[in-house]
């Protein structure tokens, strides 16, 4: 076989991500990888496995579980993480509510999305994590475009967009004092399309909700919401069965589905190429509230 010295864009991105993951693991005492079950965190996990192969992951995987997840996603999470022999930590929002740390929103539009931040921050403090891997990408949204790959958080887990460390070449600075931590975003430079193409090429497994299926839904704010034990339709909202899939995976209360017959990754990619709406615009009810919503939440410690 002829040796080619040119890397494809996906190989170049993969190498960059692996470099970042190894660097963070080497420069921190207690790293942890956040796993939501979505395609981006499945990708980060896959890259992390590659980075340390043939050794096991040298850090645990943590899921901030709102208790309102798709059952398909929880099943997927447990299977994938035990498959690679990693340790799974579940930070439970339900427990935080039960223990009275946070109060739940009420009403038909209640969402636990905001409570996630609290459970995440508390778990980081309690378990002493000092490097937290996340699957955020810079193409997702404006406030993310300026986020560093190694993003420093103070002892209150807060992000200060005005006081970010310059990040040069591929030399990363993970230094922090006790009690502080860095959020590390290994797939910062991947776009949604890159992720899908790579997932296809590498045959990375994803939760079934990403592919077409029949489901009971109702229309709210221009999005198809899945009817579930956690979210029911209001009187004027009609429930019907539709052929849908999800473009992102989050809480069942705020993740919208859309009509699709895409059953394979190739079909999903064809659909993504033709789509004229961003992932967030299409499926995150909570992000649509205000233009600056994301920036505010990031300051508070959200991912």
């Amino acid at each position: 076989m002829a040796i080619t010295y040119d890397l494809t864009h996906l190989r170049a991105l993969e190498s960059e991500s692996i470099h970042i993951i190894r660097e963070a693991a080497a420069e921190s005492e207690r790293p942890v990888l956040l796993f939501s079950g979505g395609k981006d965190s499945a990708l980060v996990l896959h890259l992390a496995v590659k980075a340390f192969h043939p050794a096991r992951l040298p850090f645990p995987v943590m899921h901030v579980d709102t208790g309102h997840n798709f059952p398909e996603v929880i099943e997927f999470r447990d299977r994938v993480i035990s498959g690679i022999g990693a340790e799974l930590i579940v930070a439970s929002v339900q427990e935080a509510i039960d223990e009275g740390h946070v109060t739940e929103e009420t009403g038909p539009r209640a969402s636990r999305n905001r409570l996630q931040t609290d459970s995440l921050v508390r778990a980081i403090e309690r378990l002493g994590f000092d490097a937290v891997f996340g699957g955020a990408r810079r193409d997702e949204e404006k406030a993310r475009a300026k986020e560093r790959v190694f993003s420093f958080r103070d002892e209150f887990s807060q992000w200060d967009p005005k006081n970010q460390r310059p990040e040069l070449w591929n030399i990363f600075n993970a230094r922090h004092n006790r009690g502080e931590h860095v959020r590390v975003f290994p797939i910062s430079n991947w776009t949604e399309m890159d992720v899908w193409q790579y997932v296809m090429d590498e045959e990375i497994e994803l939760p079934s909700v990403y592919f077409t299926h029949r489901r009971k839904v109702f229309l709210r704010d221009g999005m198809l919401m899945a009817e579930s034990a956690f979210l029911s339709a209001m009187d004027h909202e009609e429930v019907f069965e539709a052929t849908v899939r999800f473009r992102t995976v989050g809480d069942m209360t705020c993740t919208g589905a859309f009509e699709s017959t895409a059953a394979t990754l190739a079909e999903v990619i064809a659909e993504v190429s033709a789509t004229r709406i961003t992932e967030r615009g299409a499926s995150r009810a909570d992000d649509r509230t205000a233009e600056a919503a994301m920036e505010d939440r990031k300051r508070e410690g959200y991912f």
């Binding site: 494809t8 192969h53 430079n189």
Partner: protein
């Protein structure tokens, strides 16, 4: 539109863009994103709405690249923002940096990884002090290709002579810099001329549009494929039954071509061995080149740790504790002065360092060297001598951007306070 497998021959290209305020950088980037179909309908709706609110009678594509709230309030961009777009041939990572002098550090940051620098000038104003500054920074950071976009050609009547004048002016200045590949394109970002499609309104220009140029500039040979450099990042010891004695050195190739069987030397110990295999998750590979992330195994059991360097016995990096470098100072909390102690990170190696000497401060507009300077403030650039507590394994930045670069970190705040480009061992 890309099909399912087109992407398997796409290349990754990193760019940095800069220009003076109002030269049209945001409009140009907006155009590139829009015309290459990277803009989604909801983003488009949002900027149409914002354009209406501001009372502009056209959709202001510049709003697409608008950033954080504080910046929106000031109406300017003040940090490096990363944007992405792709054509069937290439995926672009674009570091969008503001042009004002106050933000030299941002431009340095954006240019540090760039294969191509895209600099804008306003055809009415021509080459300004800021244009010269941006070009100098691109050359200082070793960006291999520079594209000068002469924008707002619509406002000078698409005039060839005006364009030629600017090109000549820029060339004469650029001859003083180290720029290996220089290109020029006359454009109108607002009207889309020569951005994606070749313009019919400037028939005298027969070259490619900006996008076609970006697609065709050859970048593969910008890498150093001669000097083998592999900074050890992480030692992999599985402690698993199937991999009892496995000991691999994980890292990212920073130069040269490594192959199994190659003789290597490990620094600082100086021990020599052979590459037993180059491993990846997919299996062994026949060669590793920059920027591949791989794991090497050596034929002999020698003690190697993070921060060590694997290279070739007959082509080693320089080894030393006394280093001269150009630095850009990046903090306002204090100034760089001789005697200052800092931490230095070079490849995967940390050490402590003391600033021995500030040889000169460079005026980045006139390129004048002020040898009487006693300090470097935020956004200032100068040449310094450093002494490190540990030897570093380095090359000149001009020869290798990976083994020739470093950052300085203030140990009291842990902040990154300087970017450094090695010019050689002190006194050499």
């Amino acid at each position: 539109m890309t099909t399912a497998t087109d992407h398997r021959s796409m290349e990754l290209v990193r760019m940095a863009t800069t220009g003076s305020v109002d030269d049209g950088k945001s409009t140009l980037i907006g155009r590139l994103l829009y015309d290459s179909k990277q803009i989604f309908q909801d983003q488009m709706d949002a900027i149409e709405e914002a354009s209406r609110r501001r009372g502009t009678d056209y959709v202001d594509l510049a709003l697409l690249t608008d950033g954080l709230r504080a910046e929106r309030e000031q109406g300017i961009t003040i940090d490096v923002a990363y944007r992405y777009f792709a054509t069937p041939k290439r995926k672009f990572v674009l570091a969008d940096t503001p042009g004002h002098i106050q933000y030299t550090r941002n431009m340095v940051t954006g240019a540090s990884t760039a294969d191509i620098a895209l600099i804008l000038v306003d055809a009415r104003h021509g080459v300004l002090e800021q244009t010269r500054r941006h070009s100098f920074l691109a050359s200082l950071l070793g960006v291999p290709h520079l594209v000068l976009c002469v924008n707002k050609m619509d406002l000078v009547g698409w005039d060839e002579e005006r364009y030629n004048e600017i090109v000549a002016d820029f060339r004469s200045f650029a001859s003083r810099l180290e720029i290996h590949d220089l290109r020029f394109v006359p454009v109108s970002a607002l009207e889309g001329d020569n951005i994606v499609d070749e313009s019919a309104r400037m028939p005298w220009y027969t070259g490619p549009s900006v996008l076609h140029l970006l697609e065709d500039i050859h970048i593969g040979s910008d890498r150093n494929l001669i000097d083998c450099r592999f900074p050890v990042q992480y030692v992999i010891r599985p402690h698993l039954k199937e991999y009892q004695d496995y000991r691999g050195y994980a890292g990212t190739v920073s130069g040269g071509v490594f192959k199994p069987g190659d003789e290597v030397v490990v620094l600082p110990s100086g021990f020599e061995s052979r590459i037993a295999s180059i491993d990846t998750y997919e299996g062994e590979v026949e060669a590793a080149v920059p920027p591949m992330a791989v794991t090497m195994r050596l034929a002999d059991d020698i003690d190697i740790g993070r921060g060590d360097m694997i290279s070739r016995p007959n082509n080693r990096p320089q080894v030393g504790q006394d280093i001269d470098a150009m630095v850009c100072w990046m903090t306002e909390s204090r100034a760089l002065r001789p005697g200052m102690k800092l931490a230095i990170k070079h490849t995967t190696r940390w050490a402590k360092t003391v600033v021995k000497d500030l040889q000169y401060r460079l005026d980045i507009n006139s390129l004048h060297r002020d040898e009487s300077a006693e300090s470097l403030d935020l956004n200032e650039i100068g040449r310094i001598s450093l002494r490190t507590t540990q030897p570093l394994f380095f090359d000149d930045y001009r020869r290798n951007r990976h083994t020739g670069s470093f950052i300085l970190v203030d140990e009291t705040t842990n902040n990154t306070v300087a970017a450094g480009m090695i010019t050689g061992a002190t006194g050499s």
